[in-house]
Symmetry: C2
Subunit: 358 residues, 2 copies
């Protein structure tokens, strides 16, 4: 398995409000210093560079943050940061990369990873990704990583393992029997109890040919759009083609548009610590102890608090149950158990025209 | 009573940590925008200007904040802001002004007011101060204002009214029978119940001659120091004299050093709303409703919270019981009922060498 055929595509187009005010329009979650002082994006790139090399690491992002993404990744050639003119969800992003790579190397294997997940054990991830690449190459289909659940999390999707079909790199390979959307609590508990369900971690491996075939089968409109995009790119240059054709690609996720429709998907069951860092509480669970401390923070009798500063000193006294996030522009204070209300707050700010803090 | 003989001395030398991080070394409480968006100092000056005129309004402050004080009071001649080279408590401050005025106008009446109290009803205060000045002139002694207590506050000193001796400007004039230090709760309740006790509001009126005599009687060391200071001022200029002699003046409060030792003190009982703004909770009580909102604040389900910003937007969701004070340098979060712990916090910061935020 020569490594010349392995590519990593890191999807860094996300934007979101759950980490407001730390996350903002031009600084989404993947750029926040949530990976031990470094950004989740930089940590993700560092995890795959040793596997595929700097030349075959591709980062796809959006226009609003492209400059910040390049600045965050000084070791990456600037042309390896690819910019969608508008976001069209993950199927279009993956498809664009697959169609592009197909022109250079149709047998290449693509690893696809979100830029904004936290995986502290880089070695375990590396072994799993290499095993997934090997499986993609040998079995020729779509491969995903599934994380053994450690709690009945209702914020993640699940997948059920069907029969075991073999092993790769010491990991069991199963066929996926079905995907399950984010479940209610009781369902999540039953799935964890059953022992045959894994968290759908959104990390994939496939050959360029396999994903092209799957997109042609399950998302023919996307495939046709990508054919037009590539033809136009050859004629008038990629930037012009992207502006012309990318906005009209159908916006659908790779999970919903391809994975859940594919007749065969392989899953490698992994058991390293993983979080999609979907909320401050997710950060806390990954840290393994109560509370989060990032930045300049002084905590007195506030053991369990989630205290995150991107500038001002946060002095928290006697508030073990709160989230405090401070930037020079805005300060959020909310009880931990109401942390999801930040969405509501951001809506209020948007309605009030407070773009100065969004 | 020609107004040419009336002076106001505003004591603006205070420093303190109870309003940290809003109050800082170079921006003490009297400079904070706690009087409806204006500083307590500016509000105090505005209250007395109509009574005594701009030329006879004197503000005494310390070196660290003198420039800020002058900037805060653009309508006042800069030479009316007098600067102590070091703080020596209120008896030295009052004495310095009395000795100074004695050279110009030994029969002048001095009103003495702290710069950092809140008194929303300026008219009521004006009437009381004019009545106090009249009493000082007619009776020739020391006059203080006492505020009828509205609650058994343990954070204030009290004084007991003796027999009523007359009236001035519609206010009863009593002789003070005794002063009471900040009392425990039960004592405070008993005093409020008794109806003969007033809050010691730290506002005074006396002729220059009366306070000079009282200082000579009760603080002879201070009087001797002030004699030396004035003699040296005449010889080598006031700045040089202050540096040479002011630091050696005894540091004692006018209350403890003079008022409590004087055989006769007159008190005018007033009943306007008054607060020494000793804490955020004091602010809240004065506001008459739950909570405080100052600056850029968005509050959701946080009705009773004390939210004060000097820069960043504070977004508070579901935290009705907290104090949040935000500046560009530091953010404090503490439950309202533990707000006094800010002192402890400031000590920790001092011990940690965090002068950048103090």
């Amino acid at each position: 398995m020569p490594s010349s055929e392995l590519y990593a595509v890191i999807m860094a187009g996300g934007s979101g409000t759950r980490f407001w005010p730390l996350s903002r329009h031009r600084r989404p979650k993947q750029l926040l210093p949530l990976a031990g002082g470094r950004s989740l994006l930089a940590a993700t790139v560092d995890r795959v560079l040793p596997l595929v090399g700097v030349g075959r690491t591709l980062v796809v992002t959006g226009e609003a943050v492209a400059d910040a993404v390049r600045a965050e990744l000084p070791s990456l050639p600037p042309e390896n940061v690819l910019v969608e003119p508008v976001g069209r969800d993950t199927a279009a992003c993956v498809g664009w990369m697959a169609w592009r790579l197909a022109e250079r190397d149709p047998d290449a294997v693509m690893l696809v990873l979100p830029a904004d997940h936290a995986i502290p054990d880089a070695d375990a991830l590396a072994r799993a990704l290499m095993a997934a690449a090997e499986t993609a190459r040998l079995r020729g289909g779509l491969v995903t990583l599934g994380v053994r659940p450690t709690r009945p999390e209702t914020g993640y999707g699940y997948l059920e393992m069907g029969g075991r079909v073999g092993e790769a790199g010491g990991l069991a390979v199963h066929r996926v029997s079905r995907f399950v959307e984010k479940p209610p609590r009781e369902r999540a508990e039953a799935m964890v109890e059953a022992g045959t369900f894994l968290w759908n971690a959104g990390m994939f491996a496939w050959t360029v040919g396999a994903i092209q075939g799957a997109i042609r089968s399950h998302l023919p409109e996307l495939a046709a759009g990508l054919d037009r995009l590539r033809a136009a790119s050859a004629e008038s240059g990629e930037d012009t083609a992207l502006r012309r054709y990318y906005p009209s690609l159908p916006g659908i996720s790779i999970d919903f548009g391809v994975m859940e429709r594919a007749p065969v998907v392989w899953v490698l069951a992994v058991d390293f610590a993983w979080s999609d860092v979907g909320s401050w509480r997710g950060m806390e669970e990954l840290s393994g102890h109560g509370g989060v401390r990032i930045g300049d923070v002084l905590s007195v009798d506030s053991q369990g608090a989630i205290l995150v500063s991107d500038g001002p000193l946060i002095a928290a006294v006697g508030v073990p149950d709160v989230v405090v996030v401070a930037t020079p522009e805005a300060v959020l204070v909310v009880p931990k158990e109401q942390a999801q209300r930040v969405k509501e707050l951001v809506e209020s700010l948007r309605a009030a025209g407070r773009t100065d803090v969004l």
